[in-house]
Symmetry: C2
Subunit: 210 residues, 2 copies
DNA sequence: GTCTATAATTTGATAGAC
DNA sequence: GTCTATCAAATTATAGAC
């Protein structure tokens, strides 16, 4: 495997475990098996490593969320489909995407340009929640809170079931149902949904080009 | 207000926003309005500041969770009561307890002694979930996952509703209901619960001795 | 109780040999 | 593409004056 790719993977593991600011370039080099200055042959700076990971963490999910927010049909089904995609995207990634775009990273000035993309992803998620409230499918506990809570439940699942989710897309769908049961007025609506989009969800889990 | 207390507060804000490892003692001193070396008149090290915050973050919640895990009555009511306490504890604190006991901090060797307390808190939460599953009140999505997901939903709420929760304990109870609706087999059981423990929940939100 | 001065270490990044 | 050597800046913490 190319050194550049190994750097991305090891860096993502360290960033997820210790945080971006607390991870030194020497640690990354050691994990990869090269000396610290050799990193800078592949990336111009430590921040550039993070930016490539941010692109992987935010890119496809934003596209999928915006497409589903603009699609037709009940919000319940579209939101469920996004949550299943999100779980499989995180777990199917060769990188550890846990807490990658948290505030502690995004507040640093060198990542200011990524605020817009993260805002688009959040906006699309909140749009689906707002649609469900407007159409009488969801209770109104606050759009921002509901969207954040749903995301955090999915992240919890990817952490606890890290090894099991990709091999079991059905588990991902049950977890998305669990996450949404608090939001949905009629829990029975989720039974249909889980059967409906079970077909295309697994293919959403993709690995990055290597 | 004593300088020591101001240090704890400003440090907690910075730790929550940037992470422990990425927060320098110079920043803490600057936020307090003193020079960096003056911090060490009040605390022996940066880690000791964090440990005092950890004690506040984990101490009472662990006592409450263990007491409720050992108490009688339906797990639904006891777990709901804990979640309301947790939300009011976090939001009522003068410190920012968000992500204080995350892995990135707890994995550092200087905080190894705190693993036991965090494990007790997690154990008590998971015990309540396990009781509910055993007694047929909760669906079984995995004890560890369910307990973590519930906690993360409460933390989401404290972040989004940071200013509004302490003034509105009823909101905290509705959020706890929202968090638990995915877990409970019969959502109607939560209507009774919310009315039952509404009396004593608000007094759970305490400030530390100053 | 806060300050200045400073020690000892670690940080991200560069230069240049091979 | 990786290495050694090194730099400038930032880190936590200490010593001692006031």
């Amino acid at each position: 495997m190319p050194t550049r790719e190994r750097i991305l993977r090891e860096a993502s593991f360290l960033f997820a475990r210790k945080g971006y600011g607390a991870t030194s370039t020497r640690e990354i080099g050691e994990a990869v098996g090269i000396r610290q200055p050799s990193l800078f042959h592949h990336f111009a700076s430590k921040a550039e490593i993070m930016m490539e990971l941010l692109a992987h963490s935010l890119g496809r999910p934003t596209d999928v969320a915006e497409a589903l927010a603009a699609a037709d049909g009940p919000a319940t089904g579209r939101l469920h489909r996004y949550l299943v995609f999100d779980a499989l995207h995180i777990v199917g990634s060769p990188y550890d995407l846990g807490g990658l775009n948290d505030d502690d990273v995004m507040e640093l000035p060198e990542f200011r340009e990524w605020h817009a993309l993260r805002a688009r992803l959040r906006g699309a998620r909140e749009e689906m929640v707002a649609q469900g409230i407007r159409d009488g499918e969801f209770i109104d506990v606050g759009v921002e809170f509901a969207a954040m809570a749903l995301t955090n439940v999915i992240i919890s699942a990817t952490q606890v079931y890290s090894g099991r989710l990709p091999a079991d897309p059905g588990l991902a769908m049950r977890i998305a149902v669990f996450a949404m049961r608090g939001l949905v007025i009629d829990p029975a609506a989720l039974d249909d949904v889980a059967a409906w989009d079970g077909r295309d969800a697994p293919e959403s889990a993709e690995a990055p080009t290597r």
